[in-house]
Amino acid sequence: MKIEQAIVLRNEQIAHGIWRMSLVAPDVASAYVGPGQFISLLTDDSWDHLVRRPMSIAKINEDEVDIIYKIFGDVTDHFTKKCPGDSMNILGPLGNVFTDYNSEFAEPILIGGGVGLAPILNLYDACEKAVMIIGARSADEHFLNHKPDNSVYLTTDDGTAGIEGNVLTALKNMNLSENTILFACGPEPMLIAIQNYADEYNIRAQLSVESYMGCGVGLCQGCVIERQNGQVMKHSYHEKYSLVCLDGPVYECDEIIFG
C-alpha cells in the first residue's frame, strides 16, 4: 500500500458519461496483487472534498494503472478536467482479489454492470478463458462490441446494443455447469439478483461490492457490510460486520448480506 503522486497519461471519455484515465504510478503498480483491487484518489490538495474516492483498477500495464469512471458528482466531474501531465494523489493498491478464476476446470463467467465493468475488464485480461457479460442501460454507455463468438456479450435495457434485457437475461440463457464460477461487479440490485440466482442454482459466485469509504485502509470502520454464515472476523471489530476496504471488496456471495 503506497501513497503516490501519479501522473495522468491519458484521460478520455469512452462512452456516454464514462471516462477512462491512465496514470503513471510505479509504486502502486509494483505493489499490485491482482484483479479486484482498487485505488483511492484525490483530485487535488483541497480539503473541500476531503474523503478519497475509491476506483477499481481496470488495467495494470507495467507502471501504468487505468481506471474507468462515471461522472457521479463533484469529484468525478473534477477528474474529467485532468490533462496529460497533471498529477493525481492516489493510495493503493487496496483490497483483496478475485480467486480461482484460472484454476483447473473452472469455467468463469464475468459479469459487469455500469462502471462495475472496470474490475471485470481487469479480471478478463487475467483469465486464460472466460465468458463476459457487460450490461448497460443503452448502447451509448457501451464502449465494447457485442461478440458472442468471442464470448463477449453486451446487454442493454432498451435493446439498442447486444441482448435486450439485463445481465441476468443473458446469464439465464447460458449453459452453466458445476464448474461455473460467476464473478460480478455492478450496482447493488444486480449483485442481489446474482446472489439470489447463484443461491438458487447452487453456483459459486464472487461479488465485488461497493461501500462508502472513509479511509480505505481499515482505520475508520466506515465501510462495513453485514456478514453471514459466521465467517471469521477479520479486520472489523465485531463479527457482525466486515470491512469492505480490507476484507473486500470481493466476497463469496454467501459471505455477505446486502443492506
Binding site: 500500500m1 503506497k2 501513497i3 484525490l42 480539503w47 473541500d48 472534498h49 476531503l50 474523503v51 478519497r52 493510495l91 461501500s211 462508502y212 469509504m213 472513509g214 479511509c215 485502509v217 481499515g218 482505520l219 475508520c220 470502520q221 466506515g222 465501510c223 462495513v224 457490510i225 453485514e226 472489523s236 471489530y237 465485531h238 463479527e239 457482525k240 460486520y241 443492506g259
Partner: protein
C-alpha cells in the same frame, strides 16, 4: 533542533502530535505508510466493557470540508483489548492512551479497573464523555457538570496514570464541563469531539447516515475547536489537548496558540495515515525557523485585541 517534548501531569511525551481516538484504529495497523514510533501518542479507539458491533451502515459521508460519521463505538471490548493489544503495546515505542466509553459510571470504572488490574505500559486514559452517535456514548455525562465531576472523581480513585476528559462542543458552555473535570481531578482535558450534524441525499431523499445524526469532523470544525480550546484555556489550569480539523502544521500552531499543549490529528489520517509524521516534521522546521527551543512559549500565546 527544538525540543518538542511536552509534559502533561507527570507524563512526558516526546512530541505534542498525537493521533485521535477512532481515527487510527488500535495503532497496530498501517506499518507501511507511517512510522508510528514518531508519533507523540496514539489515542486508541473507544473501548467499552463489552464488544460492540457498532451502527449499521451507512456510517460515513462527506460534507463541505468535513465528514460525518456514526460508527457507533464499534470496538473489540476491554477483554480483547487486554489480551490481544496490551502485549503489543508492551513492545511498541509509542505511548498509548486508552480511550474509554461507557453508559454508566460503573461501566467506565469496570473497564478501567480491568486494565489497571493487569500490568501494561499504557500511559493514561482519555474518557469519552462526548460521543454523539450512540445512546451509550457518554453524552449524558458530557453535557452535565455534576455527572462529569462525579465520573472524573470516581475514575481518579482507580488510576495514577494520566486521566484526560474528552469534551463535547455540543453544549451551551464547554468551560463549565472543563471546570468540572478539573475539580474532579483530571490531569488534562481534550477538546473537541465531533459536532452533531446531519446529511441528506437530495436525489434519493434519504438520510446519508443510518442513525440520522452523526459527528461532524475535519477542517470545517477547526474554528469551533479553536474557540473551545481558547475558552477552556481561560477557564482551567490543567493542560488542554486540542482536537478538531487539523491537517497541517499551521493548524497545529493555531491550536497551540489558542491554548493547547498537545494536539490530536483525527480525520486527516484517513487521507494520509502518515500525515501526523509529516506535520511533526513541519512543526520542527517551523520552530527552527522561529528560533524557538520548544513550543512552551507558544501555548495560549495568541494575541487577541480584547
Amino acid at each position: 533542533m527544538a525540543d518538542l517534548s511536552i509534559k502533561i501531569g507527570h507524563t512526558t511525551f516526546k512530541n505534542p502530535i498525537f493521533v485521535a481516538s477512532g481515527t487510527f484504529g488500535y495503532g497496530t495497523d498501517n506499518p507501511e505508510l507511517v512510522d508510528v514510533s514518531n508519533i507523540g501518542a496514539i489515542v486508541t479507539k473507544s473501548i467499552t466493557l463489552n464488544p460492540r458491533e457498532g451502527n449499521p451502515p451507512p456510517r460515513i459521508v462527506e460534507t463541505p470540508s468535513g465528514m460525518i460519521n456514526s460508527i457507533g463505538l464499534a470496538n473489540i471490548g476491554v477483554e480483547k483489548y487486554i489480551s490481544e493489544l496490551l502485549p503489543i503495546y508492551e513492545v511498541m515505542d509509542t505511548p498509548i492512551i486508552m480511550n474509554i466509553a461507557g453508559s454508566s459510571i460503573t461501566e467506565y470504572i469496570d473497564v478501567m479497573k480491568k486494565v489497571e488490574a493487569v500490568s501494561s505500559n499504557i500511559v493514561g486514559y482519555e474518557i469519552n464523555i462526548s460521543c454523539p452517535n450512540v445512546k451509550e456514548g457518554g453524552m449524558e455525562f458530557g453535557v452535565d457538570c455534576e455527572m462529569t465531576e462525579k465520573l472524573t472523581r470516581e475514575l481518579r480513585n482507580f488510576t495514577d496514570r494520566l486521566l484526560i476528559m474528552k469534551l463535547s462542543p455540543n453544549v451551551t458552555d464547554i468551560t463549565a464541563i472543563a471546570k468540572s473535570s478539573e475539580n474532579g481531578g483530571a490531569d488534562a482535558v481534550s477538546a473537541i469531539n465531533t459536532v452533531v450534524g446531519m446529511s441528506i441525499d437530495h436525489k434519493t431523499k434519504k438520510s446519508n447516515i443510518y442513525t440520522t445524526y452523526g459527528g461532524l469532523s475535519g477542517p470545517a470544525i477547526k474554528p469551533v475547536g479553536l474557540a473551545c480550546v481558547h475558552k477552556v484555556f481561560n477557564a482551567v489550569k490543567i493542560p488542554i489537548i486540542g482536537i478538531g480539523g487539523m491537517v497541517s502544521s499551521h493548524d497545529v500552531i493555531e491550536y497551540i496558540l489558542a491554548g493547547s499543549c498537545a494536539v490530536q490529528i483525527g480525520t486527516a489520517n484517513y487521507r494520509d495515515p502518515g500525515i501526523a509524521e509529516k506535520i511533526l516534521n513541519d512543526l520542527n522546521d517551523y520552530l527552527d525557523e522561529q528560533n524557538l527551543n520548544s513550543i512552551t512559549s507558544l501555548i495560549g500565546a495568541v494575541k487577541t485585541y480584547v
